[in-house]
């Protein structure tokens, strides 16, 4: 067990590698009850959320979710989250555990008339069921939503919000339900999933899976000093919106051009696992630093993410990573470094 954002969580239940392979080949279940839930509602909710978040909430239909970013005035990332549209004027934001209080404080500073912002994190428990066989398992409970959409299904008589979203790069679902039902739903799913090869998975495999899929992690790859443009998340920023917090700074940055970009790096030979803060060299020039890394169970080599000077971010660029005084060869890769054949886009 380890401390994570104020919560006591498992690094793994059996082994990180075994849990990782289970998600890539069958199905795995993660306890994500630590995540925060913030409800935003009222007649002014939609336009207000569009001013607070980078992505365009007007494009969200009821029962749909979208990945979005909460930015500071300099365009830096406070948090990355998914916003779900529950009704015309009712939205649910699922945010990072360690950022819930900060996100809430930031939102409450700017809240305007006709908008209610409510922290309902303590009411929710949440689980993620991820892998190519996840739909087979979850289909037991009824008709499943398409990717990035959610629906309400009954698990053993209890109403559960099931969203087809995830952080692993596989097809999968994130379930949200009243907190006291958590152990019951966890045990029931483990029981039903066992014949499909389902295992419980912890933070360790959560990290190796998301790194292979090149999903950034808030606190290491995303920080208040980095903009979504530098992080390669342009597609989740709608600069055509007339106003949102951070827009001016991002427009200026787009105009002048970014200096560094978050790149995916893969070892080209045998090396120790990559980790955050390892420097990246091209010849004798230090061109950046890793912000996260690991040994990839599926690719069999070390992988990582790091901000590099833009001139060296073309896929195929050869670099060296310095680890404990020795240099190991790597190359810049296209994202994602792993693509599932069954994941729904």
């Amino acid at each position: 067990m380890t401390e994570f954002g104020g919560w006591n969580m498992s690094v793994c239940y059996s082994s990180i590698v075994e849990e990782h392979h289970a998600v890539r080949n069958q199905v795995g279940i993660f306890d994500i009850s630590h995540m925060g839930q913030i409800e935003v509602s009222g007649p002014g909710a939609r336009p207000w959320l569009n001013r607070m978040l980078s992505n365009n909430v007007d494009r969200l239909a009821i029962s749909q979710g979208q990945y979005s970013l909460l930015l500071n005035r300099a365009g830096g990332v406070i948090d990355d989250l998914i916003v779900y549209r529950l009704h015309d004027n009712q939205f649910l934001l699922v945010v990072n555990a360690a950022k819930t209080d900060e996100d809430l404080a930031w939102m409450l500073e700017s809240v305007s008339g006709g908008v209610a912002v409510l922290n309902c994190s303590s009411l929710f428990g949440a689980l993620a069921v991820q892998g190519p066989r996840s739909a087979e398992l979850m289909g037991i409970f009824g008709q499943l939503p398409p990717r990035n959409h959610f629906c309400d299904l009954k698990i053993e008589g209890s109403s559960t919000m099931i969203a087809r979203t995830g952080y692993t790069g596989e097809d999968g679902f994130e379930l949200f339900f009243p907190g006291d039902l958590a152990p019951f739903i966890w045990n029931r799913l483990l029981e039903l999933g066992k014949p499909l090869g389902m295992v419980p998975c912890g933070l360790g495999s959560r990290d190796t899976l998301r790194l292979e899929a090149c999903f950034p992690l808030n606190g290491s790859d995303l920080t208040q000093q980095r903009t979504p443009l530098e992080a390669g998340l342009d597609v989740f920023v709608d600069l055509r919106k007339s106003e949102f917090i951070g827009r001016e700074a991002l427009c200026a940055q787009k105009e002048s051009g970014i200096k560094e970009r978050l790149s995916a790096l893969k070892a080209t030979g045998k090396s120790p696992p990559f980790r955050s803060h390892y420097p990246v060299f091209v010849g004798e020039e230090k061109v950046g630093e890793l912000t996260s890394g690991t040994q990839s169970p599926t690719l069999g080599v070390a992988i990582g993410l790091g901000y590099l000077n833009v001139e060296f971010t073309q896929p195929g660029q050869k670099v060296e990573i310095e680890i404990r005084g020795r240099r190991y060869t790597a190359s810049v890769e296209r994202k994602p470094m792993y693509k599932s054949s069954t994941a729904k886009r």
Binding site: G204, K270, P272, P273, T294, Q295, R324
Partner: protein, 126 residues
């Protein structure tokens, strides 16, 4: 938690098996379990000389890096080269196939001052 009786142990979770002038060294079952999936090892070069307690190398798992310390003073005689392609042997068989290196014993008193199996088990079970 396995800790064979015929071995001696360090507080830093290395084991040592004396075979006359040379001894074989590895990390314990407790250590491999705490580390998790081992993916990389930096082992010493043969012929290098170390003092007891010096860092001789590194064992790295998916989640963390840990130093390997010399349980006794001596010269490295042999290194387990199979660990380059099969680092997981250290997890699967820490006292057998997962041995790390062989070292000559500069001072045989050093081995007797190390922990016995029961002392080591008592220490980790605390």
């Amino acid at each position: 938690m396995q800790a064979p009786d015929d071995l001696r142990y360090t507080e830093s979770h290395e084991w040592i098996r004396s075979e006359g002038e040379i001894a074989t060294v590895g990390i314990t079952d407790f250590a491999q379990d705490s580390l998790g999936d081992i993916v990389f090892l930096e082992l010493p070069e043969p012929r290098t000389v170390f003092q007891q307690g010096e860092t001789v190398g590194v064992v790295e798992s998916v989640k963390t890096v840990s130093d390997i310390l010399a349980p006794v003073s001596g010269e490295i005689r042999e290194v387990n080269s199979s660990l380059g392609t099969h680092p997981e042997s250290v997890n699967k068989d820490p006292y057998g196939e997962g041995w790390l290196f062989k070292i000559s014993l500069a001072n045989t008193d050093e081995i007797t001052s190390l922990l016995s199996s029961s002392d080591y088990k008592a220490k980790v079970e605390k």
